[in-house]
């Protein structure tokens, strides 16, 4: 039988009772009701479920609960919990979202990139931003990442 495990999400600790192989994505969505992290493909191909695990952008649909126990997890709800992050501000300035479904993942990927590389070049952005957006917001995402880099420097 399974037994409850403790998970740290957005700085809070939660006890969840799920099979250890349950993907983090579904733990976040169905157990913790943090629905900002989205299901898109289930095979780490689209990035709609991107969250931060120990500060790195990871795809929650292929991480099991067992993989992330005792690790620091941040979701879109935690990114700008006290005040909007520079990435979110830049996203608003550049009117990035259309349907918006992939944007939590895009923002989490961009925030992780900027944390590691505060002044990314276009090539850095191409390499780091591999999430799919069916609405095609890529040019605005690129501009918003450059703007967020500026906001961080200010």
């Amino acid at each position: 039988m399974t037994q409850a495990v403790v998970l740290t999400v957005n700085g809070r600790r939660f006890e969840v009772d799920c099979e250890p192989e349950t993907p983090l994505l579904w733990v976040l969505r169905d157990e913790l009701h943090l629905t900002g992290t989205k299901y898109g493909c289930g095979i780490a191909a689209c990035g709609a479920c991107t969250v931060h695990v120990e500060g790195k952008a990871m795809r929650a649909c292929v991480l099991s609960l067992a993989d992330v126990v005792s690790k620091e997890i941040v979701t879109i709800e935690g990114l700008g919990a006290s005040q909007l992050s520079p990435v979110q501000k830049a996203w608003i300035e550049h009117d990035v979202p259309q349907c918006g479904y992939c944007q939590s993942g895009q923002i989490m990927a961009a925030a992780a990139l900027l944390a590691q590389n505060p002044q990314p070049t276009d090539a850095d952005i191409d390499a780091a931003m591999t999430n799919i957006c069916r609405c095609g917001t890529y040019t605005r995402i690129r501009a918003a990442i450059h703007r967020a880099a500026e906001l961080i420097r200010l």
Binding site: N10, T35, K38, I76, C99, R134
Partner: protein, 719 residues
């Protein structure tokens, strides 16, 4: 009688149902009470009309009958109402209109479907009228209160002002009185030269909730007592489920029930993951039927062969046969396009709660009116007892016009007697779409001795969307979706014939962003390029001359050539291609700049777009839609291909149904050449059709190799 779940109660309920033992205090989600535009019926306060509700705190609620799937109507449609209302824009709060009310109150919202790039152009006049009517009645209410003639009062920024005395009252203070005023005659609406708000770039209402995870899509629905379902249907379209063995999975943790659905089966569990895992382990035997022997190669052959059959005539002028026979030079080509999936980022899903005499449905749908009827029919409940709670759509592109997932969710909820959230896996979404039809198109041109285009003979063989959806038989052999962009082509050709052969397979087909224009523009604009090269004419110059009498097209074309550097030299291996096409009332011209490596790698560097949609409501969202349409078209042109083998779709997910990503996204520049006047064109789709031909023409310019079959990934472009 069960109580109505209002928006506020719904949010409260979903919060109290928060699962997981919370060790820390406070809600898990930040700012959970998002200002969401859930439909809420009935209105508690007196309304000015079905569109406008003014609350005592001066909030202006504006109902939006179309669905927000990224196109920005949640902002642009309220702008049209507010243009006439003269309210304070900062106080506007959009809300999705109620499909239930549209059914029970004789269509106050007219047609609620979102499609055909029609949100603005089909509702602009009556939205302006609704705003104007409300403004005039607010003024009248103030005039009566002050005992002055209404002609001495005006409305501005949410206040009615009496000019002579300087007295003023807010809309909120007047709303209740205004609601009871009936006008003898509806006021006239503004003409475009009087617009103050329409045409200004306005920030979208939905952006803030889409950058912090608050926006609720259908898949985020969370109800007390809700269970989850995963569903699958026969991998061969039209096949059925012969047998399943539920005993194999009923003992798994959380599994509640196994419920047959049309053509398949659903597993219900206390969590989605448990339902999905159990479904994957459910032993099933399908009865796939005869279509199991079919494949894409055979379809391809059949569509090309069909071109020699007797086509229905979609358009005919002059004597094509004679002109072709007498031509100095002939050009002929066949173009082919495959089936395409829509693949919206949010996989199809629906939450349904069936309760004997009432059904509540939470869904992202492009067609709330049809969703209501489908729920009623499937759940055997009167349509007046069905409530559709419209959520944000995580992409639509046409797919969410027909809600196969809704019927499944209603059946499953009815079977288990609880609210059920049913989610399709991405694999189910890709393999059970209703696809852009496969097609073959043949073009024959006759050139006169001076290189002029004397005759054009076009035949298309394509799947019928009308027949596939069961909307009719297209008995004369024609349907608009098959021939749009061809039968009404803008070029002046003396001898022109357009023929159509509707030919369906077992693969369901439907509207895919830009519908028939998606394949027809590819073929037509590629062929015009071929004719240009054959007649040694510049492709821009040929189009310009063929567009005699179409000043609107010529304006777009001229501006496009100027903005897109037409005629400027490009390095070896680089090319520039052009295409222009009208769809949904809007003309779009595109120039694509491409680099093709010696090994045949295609890199699209820049796309320049010129648009004539007549008028622009919100320039910001129009630009976004053009960028979106270009990327959508680029993915399809480079990679898009759904293939059938043994009757079933071969692709299953984003690993084998590839998408353009950041690294392949070109620079996109949007410019306007607006006709104004009476023209109001659509904007969600018209940017897609010119992309594929402009790209194919650019590849020809770079390599001398002509793309006649999509997607381009299959072309041998390397040395």
């Amino acid at each position: 009688m069960p109580t109505e779940i209002s928006r506020r109660a719904f949010i409260a309920a979903s919060l109290s149902a928060a699962g997981g033992l919370m060790i820390a205090s406070g809600p898990a989600a930040a700012g959970a009470a998002a200002p969401e535009p859930w439909s809420e019926t009935p209105a508690v306060l007196p309304e000015l009309n079905a569109w406008i509700l003014i609350e005592p705190d001066e909030s202006i609620v504006i109902r939006v009958a179309q669905s927000e799937m990224g196109e920005g109507i949640l902002t642009s449609l309220p702008m049209i109402v507010a243009e006439e209302l003269h309210c304070d824009w900062a106080k506007v709060r959009p809300e999705f209109a109620s499909a239930h009310r549209n059914f029970t109150e004789d269509n106050p919202y007219r047609r609620m479907g979102t499609g055909g790039s029609g949100a603005v152009r089909r509702s602009r006049e009556f939205l302006q009228q609704a705003g104007a009517s409300a403004r005039v009645r607010l003024i009248e209410a103030a005039a009566r209160r002050w005992s002055v003639p209404a002609s001495e009062c005006r409305a501005n920024e949410g206040m009615v002002v009496h000019g002579a005395s300087g007295r003023r009252l807010t809309f909120g203070a007047l709303a209740a009185a205004a609601a009871n005023i009936k006008l003898d005659q509806e006021p006239s609406i503004k003409s475009p030269d009087q617009f103050q708000l329409i045409g200004r770039p306005m920030a979208r209402f939905d952006t803030p909730v889409k950058v912090d995870g608050r926006a609720r899509f259908g898949i985020d629905t969370d109800l007390p007592g809700m269970v989850y379902a995963a569903a699958m249907t026969c991998p061969v379209f039209g096949g059925t489920l012969k047998h399943f063995d539920e005993t194999a999975i009923l003992g798994r943790r959380g599994v509640i029930a196994v419920v047959p659905v049309p053509g398949g089966v659903a597993v219900v569990a206390d969590r989605y993951w448990r339902a999905k895992e159990a479904l994957a382990r459910l032993p099933v035997v399908w009865a796939p039927g005869e279509a199991a022997a079919s494949d894409s190669a055979a379809f391809r052959q059949a569509y090309v062969q069909a071109l020699d059959g007797a086509a229905a005539t979609a358009h005919e002028t002059g004597d094509v046969v004679g002109a072709l026979a007498g031509a100095a030079q002939r050009v002929e080509a066949i173009y082919e396009v495959p089936h395409l999936a829509h693949a919206p980022m949010e996989p199809l899903n629906c939450t349904a709660h069936w309760q004997n005499d009432r059904i509540d449905v939470w869904i992202g749908t492009q067609n709330p009116d049809a969703a209501l009827q489908l729920a009623a029919k499937t759940g055997e409940v009167k349509p007046e007892n069905v409530y559709i709670h419209t959520c944000y759509l995580g992409g639509g592109f046409g797919r969410r016009s027909v809600n196969d997932e809704l019927a499944q969710a209603v059946l499953v909820s009815k079977a288990v007697g609880r609210p059920v959230k049913l989610i399709w896996s991405r694999e189910e979404d890709i393999q059970h779409d209703r696809y852009r039809p496969q097609a073959a198109l043949r073009f024959r041109a006759g050139l006169s001795a001076d290189g002029g285009l004397a005759a054009l003979d076009i035949t298309t063989a394509v799947g019928s969307i009308t027949r596939s959806l069961g909307y009719g038989k297209a008995e004369n052999g024609l349907e608009n979706q098959a021939i749009e962009g061809l039968a009404n082509l803008p070029y002046a050709v003396e001898n022109l014939k357009v023929g159509c052969l509707l030919k369906n397979t077992h693969v369901p087909v439907m509207f895919w962003r830009s519908v028939g224009s998606s394949q027809n523009a590819f073929a037509l604009e590629s062929f015009i390029d071929e004719v240009a090269y054959a007649s040694r004419t510049d492709p821009y110059a040929l189009r310009y001359s063929l567009l005699a009498g179409r000043e609107d097209f010529r304006r777009v074309l001229t501006r496009l050539a100027e903005k897109g550097d037409w005629g400027k030299p490009r390095p070896t291996g680089h090319g520039r291609g052009l295409a222009i096409h009208e769809s949904f009332g809007t003309i779009v011209g595109e120039i694509v700049e491409v680099a093709v490596s010696p090994r045949g790698q295609v890199k699209v560097e820049r796309v320049v777009v010129v648009v004539d949609c007549g008028h622009v409501v919100n320039p910001r969202t129009v630009e976004m839609q053009i960028e979106s349409a270009v990327i959508y078209g680029l993915t399809a042109a480079l990679y898009g291909e759904i293939t059938i083998r043994e009757g079933r779709v071969e692709q299953s997910n984003f690993n084998d149904y590839e998408m353009v990503r950041m690294a392949e996204a070109p620079l996109i520049e949007t410019h306007f050449a607006l006709s104004g006047g009476k023209k109001w064109g659509g904007i969600g789709e018209p940017g897609t059709p010119p992309l594929a031909p402009a790209l194919a023409n650019a590849i020809f310019a770079a390599t001398g190799k002509r793309i006649r079959s999509l997607p381009i990934k299959n072309a041998k472009l390397g040395a």
